[in-house]
């Protein structure tokens, strides 16, 4: 009986020890803006699974929160259970956890830690100056894992049918192309006019072509508003007005609620669509079988300080919260997302432009690959959250005024006057 008691005690001790040991397994929490079933979600999930296999003492809990991820993050932080990872657009990460001082600065890790199966530091697998675009207050809040470049998209089959020649390099050639297309009773430009940040693209590209890379961004942050006196901004809006006045936008574009415009474009109701490189995957089910994606950069303008191969770019990234108890481990997982094999999957399956160098683009991006070879710079995108742009200023000042010009309710001259006055007032209120 005594022996039995001893055996029972021993078993009990072993059971308690095994539970304690099992609980020692480190757990990381990954909060994502992707929903279950999306291509990107699948790639991230597989990458995490592969990493767990290499790190069996770690468990990664995954929360696929979808686009309401920020509300979920707020709740988790308020409940005192912040996640270790949070994926979003870099600007959104800056405006949420970055400015609140809750994002881990990844720059030291990028410089110190070697890339997956490589002798290079992680930062050296990216092109030079890449991180300048997502550095806020001297800090890198996230590691970009996906990239989208902006260019004009068109269907090469339709282009050939219309008897069009070379794609336009200059603004004058672009206008000629529009005139030719319109002459054949087809809309030259398609646009989802209901989306205020899509409506920014023509003005922002033209402004930076006239006044140089990031000139518009500088003007937006110019507290005394004097930058708005630069002639390029007025010229840019005059060009936008010209497109409208000549009827180059698809009829009724003002009322196109997303995604009506891009579906019309995929169904060949119009020719040009100025948009990010996520378009091929977004319209893959709406296009005819013989649709061949072509793209070309935004044309240059006469006497402009900007160049034709300066492109805008936006990213999807993953940040680590400062509250994590395992920053080294967390970064180890993060660097797997920018390993060559994973980036190859992002390119081939999610049709993203890889963020690191030396990863070939899929055939669908053959034009884009050629454009990227000639790329001379990257400037800020103005699509609200994903762009490096003051969100409140965008929502309250820039989008409404720009839209008024595009919809023919405000003259370019009045746009410049009003944007200048409102900018001064806005920055005064932020002092």
């Amino acid at each position: 009986m005594k022996a039995f008691k001893w055996v029972l005690c021993l078993l009990l001790i072993l059971a308690v020890a095994s539970v304690a040991f099992a609980q020692k397994k480190t757990t990381l929490v990954y909060l994502s803006k992707w929903s279950e079933g999306e291509v990107t979600q699948k790639i991230i999930d597989d990458t995490i699974e592969a990493w767990i296999k290499d790190n069996p003492s770690v468990n990664v809990e995954r929360e696929w929160a979808g686009r309401g991820v920020n509300a979920k993050l707020m709740a988790m932080i308020q409940a005192g259970t912040p996640p270790d990872f949070y994926d979003e657009d870099p600007k959104v990460i800056e405006e949420s956890i970055g400015k609140a001082g809750q994002a881990l600065d990844l720059l030291p890790y990028l410089k110190k830690v070697k890339a997956y199966q490589s002798d290079k530091a992680v930062i050296d697998t990216f092109s030079k100056g890449f991180f300048n675009m997502i550095t806020f207050r001297g800090q890198v809040n996230c590691l970009p894992i996906q990239q989208y470049l902006t260019s004009f998209w068109y269907d090469k089959t339709l282009w050939k049918t219309l008897g069009m020649g070379k794609t336009p390099d200059t603004w004058a050639q672009f206008l000629d192309s529009c005139a030719k297309i319109k002459g054949q009773n087809l809309a030259p430009i398609v646009m989802d006019g209901g989306v205020n940040f899509y409506n920014m693209y023509y003005f922002s590209h033209l402004a930076d072509r006239y006044e140089g890379m990031n000139a518009l961004l500088t003007a937006i942050y110019d507290k005394d508003g004097s930058d708005w006196d630069k002639p390029g901004f007025l010229k840019a809006q005059k060009n936008v007005k010209e497109l409208r006045d000549k009827g180059y936008f698809i009829k009724g574009f003002e009322g196109y609620q997303f995604p009506a415009g891009q579906i019309d474009w995929a169904q060949r109701q119009g020719v040009f669509l100025l948009i990010h490189s996520y378009m091929p995957i977004e319209v893959k089910d709406a296009k005819p079988d013989d649709f061949v994606f072509g793209s070309f950069p935004f044309p240059s303008v006469p006497g402009g300080k900007g160049q034709q191969y300066q492109l805008t770019s936006v990213f999807g990234g993953v940040g680590i919260l400062k509250a994590t108890k395992n920053p080294d481990l967390a970064f180890d997982l993060l660097k797997r997302m920018v390993a060559k094999d994973v980036q190859q999957r992002f390119a081939e399956e999610a049709l993203n432009v890889p963020v690191i160098m030396d990863v070939p683009l899929p055939d669908i991006f053959s034009d884009l690959a050629a454009i990227m070879k000639k790329q001379t710079g990257t400037f800020t995108d103005y699509s609200g959250g994903p762009g490096q742009f003051e969100p409140e200023y965008a929502q309250k000042i820039m989008y409404p005024l720009n839209q008024d010009v595009l919809f023919g309710k405000l003259s370019p001259e009045d746009f410049v006057k009003q944007v200048k006055a409102k900018s001064i007032e806005y920055w005064k209120s932020k002092k």
Partner: protein, 294 residues
């Protein structure tokens, strides 16, 4: 005495839940509105009434308030006129009353997100049902960009009226059904016409139901969000249909345009609560009548 104690004891859990889930968040909202806060940190910066002062000068707030008011008054006006008309016809002894009532009520059983998408297809400038119908009738010149900046509010308002009219019709009809048939018989014998019966008997006798229906519509209008949000595919609703609720959402949870001003957004929410209290109070005051018992 023991029974009273037992009742109180039974009410305590419900009271605690009510205080915790409704009263506390409401009081807390007033507190949050007095701070600068992103929602991503525990730290809130006290700004006093500065958020309200900023609202006073915020064009977009006033614009969204105007849209909300237009929905309350114009939308409400249309809904109640139509609901009364349907009630009038459906209570006039028409055959197939239940079928008509079910058909008119039907939009209320569909999720607003689905309804908004459905109306988006109806109004689509190119392949939409509305323009298609006009074209098929040879009325090409009548086709419009229904979702363009000039018409989008009216298009959405029409969709809202279509959506909600059935609900208010059913509410009014439930009141009408309770009126004893003797009243109608007596009125007919006295020589009253149908409109006279409707205005002199039906309306006074469903007055309480009408007051509740109007207050309910005001509350629904002030927090109108989902339809507007979904109408644009959830990406960026046109400014012409921004309501106070939508504007509050944009200021606090941002989404595509990353504005995280929880304190300022909560100030908008506080004004919405005040609006509900003020409007409900006014309606109850203006529509106060001696209760008719039957």
């Amino acid at each position: 005495m023991r029974t009273r104690k037992r009742i109180i004891l039974l009410l305590v859990p419900a009271l605690i839940l009510y205080l915790g889930l409704f009263i506390y968040p409401t009081v807390r909202a007033f507190w949050v509105a007095l701070h600068n806060w992103t929602g991503f940190t525990a730290k809130m910066e006290w700004v006093g009434l500065a958020n309200f002062a900023e609202l006073w000068k915020d064009d977009l707030y006033w614009r969204s308030l105007l849209t909300t008011l237009k929905i309350i008054f114009l939308g409400g006006g249309a809904i109640f006129v139509l609901a009364f008309l349907f009630t009038f016809f459906l209570t006039s002894g028409i055959r197939g009353k239940k079928v008509y009532r079910a058909v008119i009520f039907y939009p209320n059983v569909v999720a607003p997100i689905a309804l908004a998408t459905f109306w988006g297809f109806i109004y689509n400038p190119r392949f939409g049902l509305l323009n298609g119908l006009l074209r098929s009738l040879g009325l090409e010149s009548w086709t419009q960009t229904w979702t363009g900046p000039d018409l989008v509010f009216w298009s959405v308002l029409a969709a809202l009226v279509w959506t909600y009219v059935g609900f208010y019709m059913v509410m009014l009809m439930s009141g009408v059904d309770k009126i004893p048939p003797d009243f109608y018989d007596a009125a007919r014998i006295a020589g009253a016409s149908r409109p006279q019966i409707f205005f002199r008997i039906v309306i006074p006798m469903i007055w309480d139901v009408l007051v509740i229906a109007i207050v309910l519509w005001i509350i629904i209008s002030i927090k109108m969000f989902d339809f507007m949000f979904a109408f644009s595919g959830g990406l960026a609703a046109p400014m012409e249909i921004w309501t106070n609720a939508l504007y509050m959402f944009m200021l606090t949870f941002g989404q595509r345009v990353a504005i995280y001003r929880m304190g300022y957004g909560t100030a908008v929410a506080v004004t919405m609560l005040v609006m509900v209290i003020v409007f409900s109070g006014i309606v109850r005051l203006l529509m106060r009548r001696e209760k008719i018992e039957f």
